[in-house]
Amino acid sequence: MNPKFVSAHAWLTGGAALRSNWLYMITGMGFPLSLLFVVGVLSEGSLLPYALAGGLISIVATNGIFTMADLGMFKFEYMFKDLIVTTRTSPMDYMFGVMLADFFWSIPSIILYFVLDIIFHIFTPYAFVMTIIVASLVLLSTASLAFVLTSLVKHQRFVWAITGMLSLVMMIFPPTFYPYTYLPHPILLALSISPTTPAAVLEQGFFGLAPTLWYMFYILIAETVILFLLAKYLTVWRER
């Protein structure tokens, strides 16, 4: 483990870079806030608390998935990955560095969502703590998936295509912006293949909007462990 690299990467390409690239930060807010707006208007406000609870998951998942865009850019455009492979930095250090750098970019959106949660009276300290735990698992699982996929693709254009597909599968279909109780149980289980589904179900429970399905917690942990192990052992680091 090279914590110097992880922290340097997170800060230099994330926190410090944020100042000169604030437009990207606004772009990152766009997708979850747009869905929040649409759901709020169409449901005449009745589903707004669900969208606010799931929106947090959506932001973190977007951040994890779009790690792939940065990993692709570092690999194909800047040749940065080639530069790092020949140092003693491990692939996991690299993944964590990029993941945390991207996380910096979503901090303003997360703060905004928590403020909205307070305004709409669904915020509780318990929900806050549990959200941090669930969001961390979502971030790690989506970033791990992004890391494996980026190491396997041969060109940046595939990265854009895959991130588009993943956004659809992980953000639109799962109950991140609507009550999970709308879904028949078999479909809910089928959708649980995406870590955002168990995360969103848990969030709705933590915010007191629906019963908490604790088995979803085990599903989320299992998926995170599997995706992390895939990232650790399946990623192509030294070219063959």
Binding site: A8, A17, L83, V85, R238
Partner: protein, 279 residues
């Protein structure tokens, strides 16, 4: 010192990029020259532990590239071809980030990055975002990484490709400031002549020649290159041009016929060996 023993690389599509290459490089600056697709970059990737060979092996200062890659990574630096500093980061942050990857602490990285950037002439531009830098300055950021890392072995893959002549000379100066052993690839023959003490010529994955520049050019002593549109005895065809070698004293007479006279360079070694440089 680098020692390669029967290095072979066959890609999954069947392309043989390196075909049982063996050599030893122990000079301060060595150049690997060859046309595009000769196998230079593959060789650099293998030597710098970025890629595994299909068979054969090599050692860097006695460390095996396959089984001791981690120890090599401690002493060697590799700057890939076409690497670019991250656009939205200042030059100094790019160097600091690379040094962090090599295990430097924050303060040590900052001091080493500043010093190296000044050495390569980027003292006034170190806080500029990378996209504001010229092509030459961007390449110098990478040379600064190599200098700041204080490594024993530096691999530079085509460090001046795409740069204007002035920027190339600037980068050459920066390369000369590197302390460790430097292995660079290039297809600019004058670059190899200007910088390196010995030259490894490769083509189609094989070593064509390996020697000091002066010794490689010895067969051409007293000769100049004549480029003509007409075929003559013992001339070589490169595209639509016929190339021959004549004594300097005999060359003057040929100028009046419209032929072009040029000094001999390492290019001529490839021409003499029948390698078409046109593409």
């Amino acid at each position: 010192m680098i020692e390669a023993r029967a290095l072979k690389k066959r890609y999954s599509d069947g392309t043989v990029a390196l075909n049982s290459v063996s050599f030893r490089l122990d000079k301060k600056i060595s150049a690997i020259i060859g046309r595009n697709g000769a196998g230079k970059t593959t060789l650099m990737k293998i030597l710098s532990t970025q890629m595994l060979p299909t068979s054969g092996t090599a050692s860097i200062d006695g460390l095996d590239i396959i089984s001791e890659a981690d120890r090599i990574r401690k002493i060697a630096v590799s700057i890939p071809q076409e690497a670019r500093p991250v656009d939205y980061m200042p030059a100094i942050d790019c160097v600091k980030l690379y040094l962090a990857a090599r295990g430097f602490g924050r303060l040590k990285a900052k001091a080493a990055a500043e010093k190296a950037l000044r050495t390569v002439g980027l003292g006034d531009a170190m806080d500029k975002l990378a996209y504001e830098l010229s092509g030459g300055m961007k390449r110098k950021v990478f040379v600064a990484m190599a200098i700041a890392s204080d490594a024993d072995m530096i691999f530079l893959d085509e460090p001046t490709t795409g740069l204007d002549p002035f920027s190339r000379v600037e980068v050459w100066s920066a390369i000369r400031a590197i302390k460790g052993q430097v292995i660079l690839t290039t297809h600019y023959m004058e670059e190899a002549q200007a910088l390196s003490e010995d030259v490894l010529m490769i083509d189609s994955g094989k070593v064509l020649a390996h020697d000091a520049v002066e010794r490689l050019l010895k067969p051409f002593n007293g000769l100049v290159r004549v480029e003509s549109q007409r075929k003559s005895r013992s001339s070589y065809k490169v595209g639509n041009t016929w190339i021959s070698y004549v004594k300097k004293g005999n060359a003057k007479a040929m100028v009046g016929r419209g032929d072009i006279i040029k000094p001999v360079t390492l290019d001529d070694l490839f021409i003499k060996r029948g390698v078409n440089l046109e593409s």
